[in-house]
C-alpha cells in the first residue's frame, strides 16, 4: 500500500509487561477511510494496542506508523490529527458540556473563538444541543459517551481511535453511537475500534483482526471471515448431554463445538440435524446464520466472554 493511503501500519510489534506477553508479533495496516476493528476477549491486548498507537505505551520491538508519523517518537505530532474515545470516560465531571469542549479544544491550541465556532455543530452531532450548559455529572452514560465522541472530534481529526466505544451502554444508546459512527465514516474519517461485541464489529467494520492472547488469529472482512471459517448455518442445541448429542449428530455436521451446556453444530443441511434430534424431550434448538462469534469459537475452541 502507498503510505499516503495508509492511516495505521504496525509491523512485528511486540510488548510484554514483566514476563507476560501482551502483544505478540502483531502486524496490520489500516487504509484511510476504513473502519478497522480489533476484536477479541478481555485480555487479548486490544487496549494496549490502542494505547500504543497514541504513543502512550512504547513497543518492545517492531515498527508503528500512524498518519505517516513514526510512533512513539513523533506520536505528539500524529495526535494533532487523531481523536480518541478511551475505554473509560475521562470527562470533566464538574464542568458543563460546553466547558468540556472548551477545555479540551485548548489542549489542541485552539482559541476560545475557534472552539465556540465549532461547538454547536459538535453538540448537534452528539445530540446534546439541549445539554450544553448541564454539568457532565448529571448526564446519562449514553450522553457521556456521545460527549466523549464530540470531544474527540474537536480537532477535526483524520483518524479516530476508539477503545470499546459502546461497552456498558444499553442497546438504544449503543445503536445511537453506531449510527453516529457511520455518519463519520461517510464523511471519510478513518476509525480504529476495539470491541468484544461481535455485532458491533459486524455492523461497523470494513475489516477486522481477531486477537487472542496478543496474537492475530484471523484478519479480513467480516463476511469473508464468516464464509471462510464457517460457511454454513449454525444449529445451537441446549438442554441435553452435549457429548451424547455430539455422537448422534456428528454424521450430519461439518464441525461441532461444545461450549458449556451449548452445542454448536455447523451443518450445511440443518434439517438433517433436526431429524436426528426429533422426539428427544427437553431440547431447545435454534437455527441461525453464522456470525463472528462462531468464527471466534471455531478458531479458539471457546466463546468470547461478554
Amino acid at each position: 500500500m502507498n503510505m499516503s493511503t495508509v492511516a495505521i501500519d504496525l509491523a512485528d510489534v511486540k510488548k510484554s509487561f514483566g514476563d507476560k506477553v501482551i502483544v505478540n508479533e502483531l502486524s496490520f495496516s489500516v487504509a484511510r477511510g476504513e473502519c478497522f476493528g480489533l476484536l477479541g476477549p478481555n485480555g487479548a491486548g486490544k487496549s494496549t494496542i490502542a494505547r500504543m498507537l497514541l504513543g502512550m505505551i512504547s513497543p518492545d520491538a517492531g515498527k508503528i506508523t500512524v498518519l505517516n508519523e513514526p510512533v512513539p517518537s513523533r506520536a505528539r505530532v500524529a495526535r494533532v490529527r487523531i481523536g480518541v474515545v478511551p475505554q473509560f470516560d475521562n470527562l470533566e465531571l464538574e464542568f458543563t458540556v460546553r466547558e468540556n469542549l472548551l477545555v479540551f479544544g485548548r489542549y489542541f491550541g485552539m482559541s476560545a473563538r475557534k472552539i465556540e465556532a465549532v461547538a454547536p455543530s459538535l453538540l448537534e452531532f452528539a445530540r446534546l444541543e439541549s445539554k450544553a450548559d448541564v454539568r457532565v455529572s448529571e448526564l446519562s452514560g449514553g450522553m457521556k459517551r456521545r460527549l466523549t465522541l464530540a470531544r474527540a472530534l474537536i480537532n477535526d481529526p483524520h483518524l479516530l481511535v476508539m477503545d470499546e466505544p459502546t461497552t456498558g451502554l444499553d442497546p438504544h444508546a449503543r445503536h445511537l453511537i453506531w449510527e453516529r459512527l457511520r455518519v463519520l465514516l461517510a464523511r471519510g474519517k478513518t476509525i480504529l475500534l476495539t470491541t468484544h461485541f461481535m455485532e458491533e464489529a459486524e455492523r461497523l467494520c470494513d475489516r477486522l483482526c481477531v486477537l487472542e492472547g496478543g496474537r492475530k488469529i484471523a484478519e479480513g472482512k467480516p463476511d469473508g471471515l464468516i464464509d471462510e471459517h464457517i460457511g454454513c448455518n449454525v444449529v445451537e442445541i441446549y438442554g441435553g448431554d452435549p457429548h451424547q448429542l455430539c455422537e448422534l449428530i456428528r454424521p450430519h455436521a461439518r464441525h461441532i463445538e461444545v461450549s458449556g451446556e451449548t452445542l454448536f453444530c455447523y451443518a450445511p443441511y440443518p434439517e438433517q440435524v433436526r431429524v436426528m434430534l426429533r422426539g428427544r424431550a427437553g431440547l431447545r434448538i435454534l437455527e441461525r446464520p453464522p456470525n463472528l462469534e462462531d468464527v471466534f469459537l471455531r478458531l479458539t475452541g471457546r466463546e468470547m466472554e461478554k
Binding site: 517518537s73 505528539r76 478511551p86 475521562n90 466547558e99
Partner: protein, 262 residues
C-alpha cells in the same frame, strides 16, 4: 532511551497554559471555599502562636514575635498549599479522575502537564502566601511595598514544593503514602528552617543541615522583605530554590513517564 525521554518533555514554552487554565476554571467554581480553607490553618497558627507564645517569648531578632512569625507563616503556607495541591488534587487528576489521560491523548506531552500543574500549584501558593501577608501587613507587621520582594519569593517557594511533591506522587502507590512525606519531611522542615523560631537556637550541626533545606532559603528571602531588612546573599537563596524547583521537575517527569507511559 534519550529520545523517548525527550519526547515526554514540554513540547514548547506555552502548551502548559492550557493545563493551568483547566485548573483555574475548576478552582473558580469553588474559589471561596478554597480561599477560606487555605487561610484558616496559617492564620490560626499566626494568631495562636503569635499572641499566645509571643507574650512569653518577647522580642525576637529585634522585632515582636508575631512579626517574626508572620514571615514564617507566609513561607509555610506557600509550602503547604503547593504541596497539598500537588499531592492531593494533581494526584487525583493523574489517578482517579483520569484527567491526565485525557490530556495525553491531545497534542500535549507529559512534561507540558507536569509544568502546568506546577505553575498552577505555585499560583495557589501565591494566593495563600499573599493572603497571610495582607493580614499581617494590615495589622502593621509588614510594610505594603514589601510585597514587591515577598511575592516572587512566595511564587518560587510554591514552585519548589510543587516540584518536590510531584516526585512524591510519581513514586507513591496511593494517597496513604503521602503522610510520610508530610510528617517526615515537611513538619520537621517548619521547625528546622526558622519559620517559628530563629535557626540560631538550633545545635550547630543542625544549623548547617537546615541551611541546605529549601524552606530555609524561602524564609531567608521572605522575612527580610517583610521586615524591610536587606536580605543577605539573596542571589544564593534564589539560586538554591531554582535548583530545588528544576531538578525535581525533570526527575518527576522521568518517573511519571515510567509510571504512566510504559
Amino acid at each position: 532511551m534519550g529520545e523517548s525521554y525527550a519526547a515526554v518533555m514540554p513540547a514548547n514554552a506555552y502548551n502548559w497554559i492550557a493545563v493551568w487554565r483547566r485548573n483555574f476554571l475548576a478552582w473558580k467554581k469553588v474559589a471561596l471555599a478554597s480561599i477560606l480553607g487555605n487561610l484558616a490553618d496559617p492564620l490560626t497558627n499566626l494568631f495562636g502562636l503569635g499572641f499566645g507564645l509571643g507574650l512569653i517569648v518577647g522580642r525576637v531578632e529585634g522585632t515582636s514575635y508575631i512579626a517574626f512569625l508572620a514571615a514564617g507563616m507566609v513561607a509555610t503556607s506557600a509550602m503547604t498549599s503547593a504541596t497539598f495541591e500537588t499531592m492531593y488534587a494533581a494526584f487525583a487528576r493523574m489517578d482517579a479522575k483520569r484527567t491526565w489521560e485525557a490530556i495525553l491523548s491531545t497534542q500535549l506531552t507529559l512534561g507540558d502537564i507536569v509544568l502546568g500543574e506546577l505553575v498552577w500549584a505555585a499560583s495557589k501558593s501565591v494566593l495563600a502566601g499573599t493572603a497571610i501577608w495582607i493580614v499581617a501587613t494590615t495589622l502593621g507587621y509588614a510594610s505594603w511595598p514589601s510585597i514587591l520582594y515577598a511575592m516572587p519569593a512566595i511564587a518560587l517557594t510554591g514552585l519548589v514544593f510543587a516540584s518536590m511533591a510531584m516526585v512524591v506522587i510519581s513514586l507513591a502507590p496511593s494517597y496513604d503514602y503521602f503522610v510520610f512525606y508530610q510528617t517526615l519531611v515537611l513538619t520537621p522542615m517548619v521547625f528546622l528552617c526558622g519559620a517559628v523560631f530563629p535557626t540560631s537556637q538550633l545545635p550547630g550541626s543542625f544549623q548547617h543541615f537546615a541551611g541546605l533545606l529549601p524552606l530555609a532559603h524561602s524564609v531567608d528571602l521572605i522575612r527580610p522583605a517583610m521586615l524591610e531588612r536587606g536580605a543577605d546573599s539573596a542571589a544564593l537563596h534564589v539560586g538554591a530554590l531554582c535548583v530545588y524547583a528544576v531538578l525535581p521537575f525533570f526527575a518527576s517527569t522521568a518517573l511519571l513517564r515510567r509510571r504512566l507511559l510504559r
